[in-house]
């Protein structure tokens, strides 16, 4: 008791260290606080790398084993929508990066614009993804109970894809493996989409807070770290796009 009183007096006696209200007391400087939270965010992202890494490893092994099935499975994806979505996501990463800059330079309305654009582009990405998912559903290419190998055992029954790639019919045991391709397709793009949905939710929260002026007072940690998350999700897609869409597109 007497100890704490003494400490209290000692602190009071010293000239109070000037620091911004958002600096926690256990940090020496704002910079130290920024570096610590930045480090923590990167550690979280590394766990995400390991998580997606398992899926990528499964993909690598199965693609090597069942390459013909992966080629014809990949031909079912729309290169137009895939490329468009890549462009949408990269643009949203750009607007997010600009959002960080707006927060750092305390431009409130520009920050709101950047966050709003990122939010909007994220929704467009999910919209395009749902068009693609719907097509897979209609063609019975969603793995599970209703899965159909028709397009792979007898490619000419799928004229849209056939006229473009003239795929040779697969033997039934190889055609069965296209289901593995689509399983990985849905697992990987689905987990990616889940990350997008979470990100869009957080963006909505940030837009509300930014309207109240939360991130334009010099405290940019939250925007910066959310930016890291959003760019990470972008990087996952940068790898998913060539791996899922661009397998042997030449004929």
């Amino acid at each position: 008791m007497s100890d704490s009183t003494a400490t209290g007096h000692a602190v009071a006696a010293e000239p109070h260290h000037e620091h911004p209200p958002y600096q926690r007391h256990h940090f020496e400087t704002v910079d130290q606080q920024f570096d610590a939270t930045n480090f923590a965010m990167w550690l979280f992202l590394l766990t995400e790398v390991m998580f997606f890494g398992g899926l990528f490893t499964a993909y690598l092994i199965l693609r090597n084993w069942y390459y013909p099935a992966f080629v014809e499975g990949s031909h079912q994806l729309s290169i137009f929508w895939g490329t468009a979505n890549t462009a949408v996501l990269i643009t949203s990463s750009f607007t997010m990066a600009m959002g960080v800059w707006c927060a750092e330079t305390r431009r409130k309305s520009a920050l709101l614009l950047c966050l709003g654009l990122t939010f909007f582009l994220g929704l467009i990405f999910l919209g395009i993804k749902s068009i693609e998912y719907h097509e897979k559903w209609v063609k019975h290419h969603v793995p599970g109970f209703h899965y159909s190998e028709q397009s792979f055992v007898n490619p000419s029954t799928d004229p849209e894809v056939y006229k473009e790639y003239h795929d040779a019919p697969l033997a039934v045991d190889m055609a069965n493996k296209t289901e593995l391709y689509f399983f990985l397709y849905f697992a990987m793009t689905g987990m990616h989409a889940l990350h997008m949905i979470i990100g869009i939710g957080i963006l909505g929260f940030m837009i509300m807070r930014a309207k109240a002026g939360a991130y334009t007072t010099g405290h940019v940690t939250f925007v910066e770290n959310f930016g890291l998350y959003w760019h990470f999700v972008d990087i996952i897609w940068i790898f998913l796009y060539p791996l899922l869409y661009l397998i042997s597109r030449h004929t």
Binding site: T57, S93, E104
Partner: protein, 104 residues
């Protein structure tokens, strides 16, 4: 710009010019990787596609995620993460490729 840098002390602010340049580079590389996939390069199709993807990811990490301007601790964290990821993949592949029941 000088004033703004002082406000946040040593925290580096990446200029919008760099963001625009990186954004454009990423879009051009996306178009490139899509175009290259239509050319028959044999096994090198996958190599080129992955090389472009790795390069794009590096641009994002270095500039959008500010690793080029970050502390040594953060740089080391990212590098060790990539290293462990590649290590785990190669060990898994070595295992699968040396088993009798694999398809190699």
């Amino acid at each position: 710009m000088n004033n703004e840098e002082k406000e946040v002390e040593h925290h580096h602010i990446v200029s919008p010019r760099i963001y625009v340049a990186i954004g454009c580079a990423l879009l051009i590389l996306t178009a490139t990787t899509a175009a290259v996939s239509y050319i028959d390069l044999g096994v090198f199709n996958a190599v080129v596609a992955l090389a472009i993807a790795v390069f794009k990811a590096m641009l994002v990490v270095l500039f959008f995620m500010h690793i080029k301007y970050s502390t040594k601790l953060t740089k080391l964290t990212v590098i060790s993460g990539v290293f462990i990821f590649l290590g785990l993949i190669s060990m898994t592949m070595a295992d699968y490729m040396s088993r009798a029941w694999g398809r190699w």
